[in-house]
């Protein structure tokens, strides 16, 4: 069995300005075990060579479907936005290690922190934690009102708070300020978003809380063979870890950002 598959595009629609929801169907969906893993999608656009990594946002095993939410960022995602339902995309994955759910014990509360396009991988996680009976609080940060997405979706499984940088929707400020403002209490945190946000979270909570963060790095192979995507884990030489293989999810205190 191959880990690459030409999957059928069921849906590819804009859900917020420049943000698309992509649903793919294929046999390899049954290999998708953990929230927070990613897939590497091949794009046929002119001159494009590398696959593009995207987090798995939602897994629908019975339908053999999974969802990706992506932001149009450059040439690859621009090309992807033009794909229509009925076409096929070659998907390599699932890849990497996701969020460890059992990190959360019975009765414990999870805080999910998503910044912008870092939100999607937390969605499958929210669903699962909720399903396991844990309390889930989600704090989402966006630039402005227009950029907000998935607030409603997350609220199916969690208490949701939204912050926007310009205050045009929800709390005015960043996610950390909102968490402070609400004095949210939690046991384990799970975060994904821009590097600046992850750094601030690490600084604020690495000492006192358990937590997991999902990293991004420019990738080539996606499976640990090229050493393109390393991050710093400190300690003895060679101290780097591969985001695609040992990650993209790392414990809050095990990486140096």
């Amino acid at each position: 069995m191959k880990l690459t598959e030409d999957m059928l595009v069921m849906k590819n629609e804009e859900i917020a300005p420049g943000i698309y929801e992509l649903v793919l169907k294929g046999e390899n969906v049954r290999l998708m075990k953990e929230a927070g893993q990613f897939v590497n999608i091949q794009l046929e656009g002119k001159g494009l060579v590398l696959r593009r990594p995207f987090s798995i946002c939602e897994i629908n095993l019975p339908e053999k479907e999974f969802k990706v939410i992506y932001r149009v960022q450059g040439e690859g995602t621009g090309y992807l936005a033009g794909i229509e339902a009925g076409e096929r995309l070659n998907v390599f994955g699932p890849l990497g290690r996701g969020f460890p759910e059992p990190a959360l014990k019975e009765g414990e509360t999870a805080l999910l922190i998503g910044g912008g396009i870092g939100t999607p991988p937390l969605y499958e996680l929210a669903r699962r934690l909720h399903g396991r009976g844990n309390k889930v609080i989600t704090v989402l940060g966006f630039q402005d009102k227009d950029g907000v997405f998935y607030e409603g979706e997350f609220s199916q499984f969690s208490e949701v708070h939204v912050a926007t940088m310009d205050g045009s929707y929800g709390y005015k400020g960043n996610v950390l300020e909102l968490i402070g403002h609400l004095q949210l209490d939690f046991d384990v945190l799970y975060a994904c978003g821009p590097m600046a946000m992850l750094k601030a979270i690490q600084e604020a909570y690495a000492k006192e809380k358990r937590g997991y963060i999902s990293l991004e790095e420019r990738m080539a192979c996606g499976i640990g063979a090229c050493y393109g995507c390393v991050c710093d884990k400190g300690g003895e030489l060679p101290y780097q870890k591969r985001v695609c293989k040992e990650g993209p999810v790392f414990a809050l205190n095990e990486v140096i950002l």
Partner: protein, 303 residues
């Protein structure tokens, strides 16, 4: 029956398809995808004397039809490779080529000596063409005398066949090929990456933290074909050809130009099954062009 086998110094290959150094790690990741025994051989990641952390990230950028990398020879060091990686590779019926790098002639010699002692290693590939390190690396590969001296020293110290991996970033590739041949090289690997750069329009900075990086992928194929064609005419030692190979037809073009076997690098990132796919397609492509063995196609453009 199409005969895919190729015999090169130290290497008895089932077929001419060899994952290129740095694009296949030590084989572990791809072994999860398919049976490595299908391959002609594998070339492992560059080894240096001490562990190296490589360059800061981003280390990868995309260009039109190619990619830039600036890994910077990250590796756990020759001892860890011998201790942790080679025993695992021993389970396969697969010649392993060790890619060797260093800052000084002494480092190359020492790393080569240690690797050559190991029975898993069937040949050495001297990476005198890595564009992504400050010292050593490409500097050894852009000057014919230096390249020859290095080759001779390693030959003296290591009891295994030595392939020298040439840099394309030179005015006269033939001169360097000839020099290393005279110095005793058993074969050539060519080409390594072209030195390139991309600048991020938003930040105004180079995309790679290292500034420059090595260009690989389909974009460089015509340069590789040209260099192999030129070198084949002028040397007697065999060439392992690489640079932009994506499929079995590309392999045939490399054989025509003068390669006896081929390295597959960047294509592994695009289609992780590219090596077995090529091995599957090669007999058909050879037959379609009237060949019944790899041997017949080698250097065909020169006849």
């Amino acid at each position: 029956m199409i005969d895919l086998s190729v015999k090169l110094p130290g290497l008895q290959l089932k077929n001419p398809v060899i994952p290129a150094s740095g694009c296949f790690g030590f084989g572990e990741e791809f072994a999860e995808l398919y049976d490595l025994n299908q391959l002609g051989a594998i070339t492992i990641k560059a080894a240096t004397l001490e562990p190296r952390t490589g360059n800061p990230t981003p280390r990868i950028a995309e260009t039109y039809g190619g990619i830039l990398n600036a890994i910077g020879l990250q590796n756990p060091g020759v001892e860890a490779i011998i201790r942790e990686k080679l025993p695992w590779l021993e389970q396969f019926d697969l010649p392993v080529i060790a890619n060797v790098a260093g800052d000084t002639v002494e480092e190359y010699v020492e790393v080569s000596r240690r690797l050559a002692e190991n029975k898993v290693i069937k040949a050495l590939e001297l990476n005198i063409s890595c564009p992504n390190v400050e010292k050593g690396g490409m500097a050894f590969g852009t000057d014919a005398e230096t390249a020859a001296e290095l080759t001779a020293e390693v030959k003296k110290a290591a009891g295994k066949p030595v392939y020298v991996k040439l840099s394309p970033n030179v005015t006269d590739i033939v001169r360097i090929a000839r020099a290393v041949e005279e110095a005793g090289a058993d074969g050539l690997s060519m080409i390594n990456t072209l030195l390139g750069m991309r600048i991020d329009l938003k930040t105004g900075k180079t995309i790679l933290a290292n500034g420059t990086g090595g260009l690989s992928g389909p974009a460089i194929k015509p340069v590789a074909i040209r260099m192999i064609y030129q070198v084949y005419k002028e040397v007697k030692i065999p060439i392992i050809g690489m640079g932009g190979i994506q499929d079995a037809r590309d392999v045939l073009e490399f054989l025509y130009a003068g390669a006896s076997a081929v390295g597959i690098g960047t294509a592994n990132f695009i289609n992780p099954y590219v090596c077995p796919d090529i091995i599957r397609d090669l007999p058909g492509v050879l037959a379609e062009h009237g060949f019944s063995s790899i041997r017949e196609a080698i250097g065909f453009a020169h006849r």
